[in-house]
Symmetry: C2
Subunit: 386 residues, 2 copies
């Protein structure tokens, strides 16, 4: 089968971008990615978006953004899988190129939390959990994560501050990322003294909702000109899996089964084992998610994921660097754009040089995008080609 | 390349189904389609849905429905392209199977207009048009269609009742479809005396919003057992195109360019010409859409689409039968399920026998799903295999 490669990457700064509209955000990222690809002509646009139909009263983003980016006529549609919408868009773009039916596809993640004209953000976010059985009771994704964290602390006798390492690493890595929302390192006492959001989750256990857009140009390897400007990055594994939305339907709430299934399938397709992965872009919407992802993909045994962070093993020079550009915590959680940001950042790492945060000799990166508490997980293996 | 075939079809009745929830609708259609496929095991679920995040406060339908249908673990995501969401889901299911990465995929369209707990239906529907430039002015899709119809009548000197044939044909064909919302034929005077919805659109120029779900099992031809229960239906052409959301951005508002582009690409891929098409399932959300689609795909010259209906040439025994199971007008407009209903109905026609409404000797069917005023169009050619 043909190799699917990332030919172009683009991203906007992440943050509260009050003066940039949804369509302008997408346009900026598209323009950068197409330019970076040497001007490849996209035939299709796969949008990852989570909440625009609610927050901006705007559905039908495919046609809207294709037109606004000067691409009217091309195929365009939106993928939605809650927080994993960006990963889902990447997955569909990958399948479209792999099918041989399309030569060049744009994958764009975009989200606009500010300037909302619909319901409040918590109400909108709650639409991604089980509306009839959880949201209707007042459950929000943050409350759900708090339950998970409390259970984890109880089950494995973990102190609350055992989670500090996730935020410390993310913020340390965000400093050198010009696109990150927060570019300031934090100290342990900043974490320990932070106010509670939803006990036991404090402010630094929760990624900030933010605006942003990221874009990728995908194509087949043989369509890349020989004098291409960048090292090529191949998508050598791609997989997705689903689980219940509601936590009460799970056999084991502390096991992110989809994270395991999708990462396992992606690695199998890539023909690699876990110890060949040089870095891991996880979906640290909440620090407890990061811990559970490390365990599910096999980087830590159950109940020990937090220790990798506590022992500084997820830092840039640790055993398995994570959130290398700041992750969701410091780069910011731009909803359905998140999975595409992960791919853009991983591609930058693999192309090199990625500045101060470069992982030396990186050949394989694992990126994983979650919807809800791993109700959806989409995993990709990106590989540097020689 | 491998042949992608429709191995199973399923559908619920369309209507105001107050006592069936969104997830139950999807489940019923899935169960029927999987049974009809002889029990093939889906690896992926592509949901077509338009408004659940607004009307039912429920996003993240992929994981929700996969779980509820007993398929938790499989890949699952939602495709959105306004009224073309079902067509978009079919397109993605097709690409996934064509890629060779998946063997069996479920494509499910589902929509629930009743039991709404979100905003009113018109507000929700307006999210599919340009929020910043049209919806904000109070423009709804129905008002937009009324403008198109008035312009058409003016430009081509068409009497208002010149559109009656679309509704008459749809309602005549709905009579024998047990899944249709309306199963009663209407007379010309029923049309001419109908109350205005949005002048010049009357009640019979507008398809009714309805609940419903339809499902398809797609696989590769070589995976079908030799003793399979049905004639096989192949997806021999698949294409999609996009245009501006806002009408004021169009060069010619009376030309549905995406309908032409996507149908042309699909026929080219199938290696057929227009005169080989035995029937056309258009997206008759409004009678003016049907007229413009007939013209855009080349079945009538500009300004003459309405005459095909007036001359009874779209009836079951006409030159080009349309809406053979009642279309959106009589079967009902089940939002993002619509494109999947079209495929289910076309597959039933091609397999035969499709009861009273059977098109004799049908070999090729063209189905076309629209989002907004053809801001998105998704076209597929279904072919009966010998």
């Amino acid at each position: 089968m043909t190799d699917v490669v990332i030919a172009g990457i683009g991203q906007t700064k992440v943050g509260e971008l009050w003066d940039i509209s949804l369509r302008d955000l997408a346009f900026d990222a598209i323009q950068d990615a197409v330019k970076d690809s040497g001007g490849l002509k996209p035939q299709a646009l796969f949008i990852g978006n989570m909440l625009a139909p609610n927050l901006s009263n705007q559905a039908h983003l495919g046609a809207l953004i294709a037109d606004y980016a000067g691409l009217a006529g091309i195929e365009a549609m939106t993928l939605e899988a809650a927080g994993a919408s960006g990963g889902a868009a990447l997955r569909q773009g990958y399948l479209a190129i792999a099918s041989g039916m399309l030569d060049v596809a744009l994958v764009v993640g975009v989200e606009k939390f500010t300037d909302k004209i619909g319901p409040d953000v918590d109400t909108a976010l709650a639409t991604t959990s089980d509306s009839d059985f959880e949201a209707v009771q007042g459950m929000t994704p943050t409350a759900q994560a708090a339950l998970l964290m409390r259970r984890y602390m109880h089950e494995y006798q973990v102190p609350r501050d055992g989670f500090a390492g996730f935020a410390l690493t993310a913020h340390a890595n965000g400093v050198s990322n010009p696109y990150a929302m927060f570019r300031k390192a934090i100290k342990l006492e900043t974490y320990t003294k932070a106010e509670m959001v939803n006990e036991p989750l404090n402010l630094f256990d929760v990624a900030p909702n933010a605006d942003g857009a990221a874009a990728l140009v995908l194509t087949r390897r043989e369509l890349i000109p020989t004098n291409f400007a960048h090292s090529l990055v191949k998508i050598s594994g791609s997989a997705s899996a689903s689980d219940t939305l509601a936590l009460h339907d799970r056999k084991d709430v502390l096991y992110f089964e989809t994270a395991q299934l999708s990462a396992g399938r992606a690695m199998k397709q890539a023909g690699i084992t876990l110890n060949q992965i040089n870095f891991f872009e996880y979906h640290d919407m909440f620090s407890i998610y990061a811990a559970l992802q490390l365990e599910a993909v096999g980087l830590a045994i159950k109940g020990q994921g937090w220790k990798l962070a506590a022992d500084n093993e997820i830092a840039l020079k640790g055993k398995i660097p994570c959130a290398t550009m700041g992750g969701l915590k410091a780069r910011g959680f731009a909803g359905g754009a998140t999975g595409v940001y992960q791919a853009v950042e991983a591609a930058a790492q693999l192309r090199g040089p990625a500045g101060t945060n470069q992982i030396a000799g990186a050949k394989y990166g694992l990126i994983q995008s979650l919807g809800g508490p791993a109700s959806t997980a989409v995993s990709h293996i990106l590989q540097k080609l020689d």
